[in-house]
C-alpha cells in the first residue's frame, strides 16, 4: 500500500508523537501511516520484543556477576529497533548506536555476536556486510556521517536501496550529526535519520540538547521530520516504513522516536544520582511490550497458552545466553596484531632481516667514570 503521508515538513513533526497503539493497547489507525502487517508479522514483532527484553535482562545479570565487562541496557526501547528492523528491506543498510541490541537481534546477529563485544573477547561482533548492520559507534554522532556517505553510495548504485541510522538525543548536539544533516539534504541521500529521544544522555536531560522537539529541526535543514511514539512498535514500524519509502527517491527524513531509558546509562552508571525513581516509574506504564500484548490478546491472536509458550522460549534463550557467554573462547595473545591492516602486519611488528647491533659492554663503573669525565670535561 503506498504511504499517504505527504512528506510535507509540517506533516508529523509537531504535536503529540504519532501513535496507533495507546498504552492500554487500544488501536486507532492513522491513515497517513498504514500498518500493513498480517497476524504472523504482529506476533513476530511481539516475540522479538519479548526475547530482546530477556536478552537484556540476562545480560544485565551476567554483568553483575562479573561475566561481562559492561552492559548498555535497551530496556523500554525495544519497540524502536524491532519496528525499524521490520521496516527496512534486507538489502537496506542500518547504522546502529551501542544500545540497539534489538536491531542486532532482528538483523540476525546471534547471541555470541551481541555479547562477545561486551565480554570483551572480540573487537567486532559481526560482519556488517553480511547482516546489513554496521559496526556500532561509541563515539557519539560519528555513525550519522557514515550513514549519509553509505546512502550516497547506494544512490550512485541506483538500486533503490536506503540507509537508516540510529542515534540519541545527546548525539543530536554533536557537530557530526548536524553536518550529516546538511550533507544528507544537499545530496538528497536516501537516508532515514532516527533519533531515539530517551530523555537522557547519561546524566544530562534531553532539554539541554534541544529547546524544541528534535523532529522539528528537520525543517531547518529542508527535509521532513516525524515525531513518533517510540514505545508503540506499530507506529514505529509504519512511520519507519513510510520514511524509508520516501527516502528511496525523496532524500532524507528525520524521525524522532520518543521513549525513555528505563535503566541506568550502562551498568557502570548510577542513575539515582540525577533522576528520581518516580520519573522512571511513570514510564513503566507506557511499556512497549505490555501494550502490544494487550492488543494481541484483545484481537484474539494471543491466549494464555501462547503466552506461556513464549515465556518458555524466553527462558530457553536466557539459558542459552548464560551458557554461550560463559563458554566463549578467549583470544590468543599471538592474534594481537590481527586486523590492524588489510595485509600481514608481521613486517611492522617483527622486523625481519634487520641486523642486530652488537651488545655494548655490561655496566661497568670504570666505563661509566670515563664517560662521565668525558661528558663533564
Amino acid at each position: 500500500m503506498p504511504p499517504t503521508w505527504t512528506g510535507e515538513p509540517c506533516d508529523g513533526a509537531s504535536g503529540p508523537p504519532i501513535q496507533v497503539l495507546d498504552p492500554s493497547g487500544q488501536f486507532t489507525a492513522d491513515p497517513r501511516f498504514p500498518v500493513d502487517l498480517d497476524d504472523g508479522d504482529l506476533l513476530g514483532l511481539h516475540r522479538d520484543m519479548v526475547l530482546v527484553r530477556q536478552l537484556d535482562t540476562t545480560a544485565t545479570a551476567l554483568q553483575q556477576q562479573g561475566e561481562l565487562g559492561l552492559w548498555a541496557s535497551s530496556r523500554g526501547q525495544e519497540a524502536i529497533g524491532v519496528g525499524l528492523a521490520a521496516a527496512v528491506a534486507p538489502s537496506d543498510m542500518v547504522f546502529p548506536s551501542y544500545r540497539e541490541h534489538a536491531l542486532a537481534w532482528c538483523r540476525g546477529v546471534g547471541i555470541s555476536g551481541i555479547l562477545g563485544l561486551f565480554r570483551g573477547i572480540t573487537n567486532g561482533g559481526w560482519d556488517p556486510a553480511a547482516v546489513g548492520l554496521a559496526v556500532p559507534s561509541i563515539v557519539i554522532g560519528a555513525q550519522v556521517l557514515h550513514a549519509v556517505g553509505y546512502a550516497m553510495g547506494q544512490q550512485l548504485d541506483g538500486g533503490g536501496e536506503a540507509t537508516a541510522v540510529v542515534f540519541g538525543d545527546g548525539a543530536s548536539s554533536q557537530g557530526d550529526t548536524l553536518e550529516a544533516m546538511v550533507w544528507a539534504a544537499s545530496f538528497e541521500a536516501p537516508v532515514v535519520l532516527l533519533c531515539i529521544n530517551n530523555g537522557w544522555a547519561i546524566s544530562v536531560p534531553a532539554a539541554r540538547q534541544s529547546r524544541i522537539p528534535l523532529a522539528q529541526r528537520a525543517r531547518g535543514f529542508g527535509f521532513p521530520g516525524l515525531r513518533v511514539d517510540g514505545n508503540d512498535v506499530l507506529a514505529m514500524y509504519a512511520v519507519a516504513r513510510a520514511a524509508l519509502d520516501y527516502a528511496r527517491t525523496g532524500g532524507p527524513v528525520l524521525i524522532e522516536a520518543v521513549t525513555y531509558r528505563m535503566a541506568a546509562h550502562t551498568t557502570a552508571d548510577d542513575d539515582m544520582r540525577y533522576r528520581t525513581r518516580a520519573e522512571v516509574d511513570q514510564w513503566q506504564e507506557r511499556d512497549p511490550i505490555s501494550r502490544l500484548t494487550a492488543h494481541l490478546v484483545d484481537c484474539g491472536l494471543l491466549d494464555d497458552g501462547a503466552l506461556a509458550e513464549l515465556q518458555h522460549e524466553s527462558q530457553r534463550l536466557a539459558e542459552a545466553v548464560r551458557h554461550e557467554v560463559r563458554t566463549m573462547p578467549m583470544p590468543d595473545v599471538r592474534t594481537l596484531g590481527r586486523h590492524a591492516y588489510a595485509s600481514d602486519t608481521r613486517a611492522s611488528l617483527v622486523p625481519a632481516g634487520v641486523p642486530v647491533a652488537p651488545p655494548a659492554p655490561a655496566v661497568d663503573s670504570a666505563v661509566r667514570a670515563t664517560a662521565l669525565s668525558a661528558a663533564h670535561g
Partner: protein
C-alpha cells in the same frame, strides 16, 4: 598530609583554584549533576553553582571553542573531554585556534584555558576509549601538554595549569583515578609546569616514564633491585631536557617506558635527544619500551600484556644491565603476528 584518591586530588585542585579565582569555570559532559564520570568534579556544582559548573550538550567542538573565546576575555575555563579520543572532534579549536592566538596577535591575546582528558588503557574499554594520544597535541608549539602520574602531581600540576597564561592540556590516566596518595594541598602543593620530577634518585641507569608508566617503572626497578633513577617527565611539551640529560650524563644509560605505540611515541624524542646531546656519556644504546603498533585490544588479558607490564620492564632492565644489549620487545619474542 592528607591522603586522597587521584580523582579527589583533581576535584580538590579545581575547587581550590575556583575559590582563589572567580574567573575559573568548568564545562563538560556529566560533570555537574553527576559530578564527573570519573568523579573528578565532586562537590563543585554544590559549591560554585550552575554558571561556573556547566553540564554541556554533547558537543566537544562547541565547548572547546567556547572556552577559547571565553579565555581570550580573561576567563579561565577548564573543560573536560571525557575520553581523550573525543578531542578528535574538537582538535581544530585547540591546535589551530587556541595554540595560535598569542602568536597571531603579537602577544596581545592570551588563551589561559585548560583541557582535561582521561587517557590510557587498563580498564577494558576497547580500542576507541583506551589510547593516550598525547602525540595528537604534543607537536604543536603553543600548547603545553602535561600528564599526571599520582595524586600529588594531579593536584599540583592541575593548579599550575589553571594559572598558566597559555592553553594547557592535562592528561589523566584512567587507571590512576582510584589510586590513593599523600597530597600536600595549598600553595605548597603546586608543582611547576615544564619541569620533570625525579621520583627515585639512582646512579646506574635513567628510566624516563610518564603517566601510568611511572608507577610501572618504579615497581620494575624495585623488582630488579637496581640503582635506577626514575624520572616522571610530567610535562611532555615543552619537555624538561635539562633534568633528563643531566641524569643521563650521570648514569650513562637510558630507557624510556611509554604507554603508546612504538611508532611516533613521545619517547622517540627523548631517546633521539639523548643520543645527540649526551652521546659521549652513553655507555649503551638508549632504548624505548612501548606498546606494539596495533590498536588497544579489548580482551582484558590481551590488554594487560599490551601496556608495558612490571614483569616485562623488569626483564628488559635486567637484560640491558647484564648484557648492555637492547632487549627484544615481548611481541617479537612471542611471535605476535597478523
Amino acid at each position: 598530609m592528607p591522603t586522597m584518591r587521584v580523582n579527589q586530588a583533581i576535584a580538590t585542585a579545581l575547587a581550590d583554584e575556583m575559590r582563589a579565582d572567580a574567573s575559573v569555570m568548568v564545562f563538560g559532559e556529566d560533570i555537574a549533576e553527576a559530578e564527573g564520570p570519573f568523579k573528578t568534579s565532586e562537590g563543585l556544582l554544590a559549591e560554585f553553582g550552575p554558571l561556573r559548573v556547566r553540564d554541556t550538550p554533547i558537543s566537544e567542538m562547541a565547548f572547546t571553542g567556547a572556552a577559547v573565546g571565553a579565555a581570550t576575555l580573561g576567563m579561565r575555563p577548564v573543560i573536560e573531554i571525557m575520553f581523550v579520543e573525543f578531542l578528535g572532534v574538537a582538535l581544530d579549536e585547540l591546535v589551530t585556534e587556541a595554540a595560535k592566538f598569542r602568536y597571531l596577535s603579537n602577544g596581545a591575546l592570551s588563551v589561559p584555558m585548560v583541557v582535561r582528558a582521561s587517557v590510557g588503557s587498563g580498564l577494558g574499554f576497547g580500542c576507541q576509549h583506551s589510547q593516550t594520544l598525547e602525540n595528537w597535541v604534543s607537536a604543536t608549539p603553543g600548547l603545553t601538554v602535561v600528564t599526571i602520574s599520582d595524586a600529588q602531581s594531579a593536584y599540583g600540576l592541575m593548579r599550575a595549569a589553571i594559572r598558566d597564561p597559555d592553553p594547557v592540556i592535562v592528561l589523566e590516566p584512567r587507571t590512576l583515578y582510584a589510586r590513593r596518595g599523600e597530597v600536600t594541598t595549598g600553595e605548597a602543593g603546586i608543582l611547576p609546569l615544564r619541569r620533570a620530577r625525579t621520583v627515585r634518585p639512582g646512579a646506574d641507569i635513567t628510566v624516563v616514564a610518564m603517566g601510568q608508566t611511572v608507577g610501572i617503572a618504579l615497581d620494575a626497578v624495585a623488582a630488579c633491585d637496581v640503582d635506577a633513577e626514575v624520572i616522571d617527565l610530567a610535562t611532555l611539551s615543552p619537555w624538561d631536557r635539562s633534568t633528563v640529560l643531566t641524569s643521563v650524563h650521570r648514569t650513562g644509560r637510558l630507557i624510556v617506558v611509554e604507554e603508546a605505540p612504538l611508532t611516533g611515541g613521545w619517547g622517540a624524542q627523548v631517546v633521539a635527544t639523548a643520543a645527540s646531546e649526551a652521546f659521549s656519556a652513553l655507555t649503551a644504546a638508549p632504548f624505548r619500551i612501548t606498546t606494539p603498533d596495533v590498536p588497544v585490544p579489548y580482551a582484558k588479558h590481551l590488554e594487560a600484556r599490551f601496556v608495558p607490564t612490571v614483569e616485562d620492564v623488569a626483564r628488559q632492565l635486567r637484560t640491558y644491565l647484564d648484557t648492555g644489549a637492547v632487549p627484544q620487545p615481548w611481541w617479537v619474542l612471542e611471535g605476535v603476528s597478523a
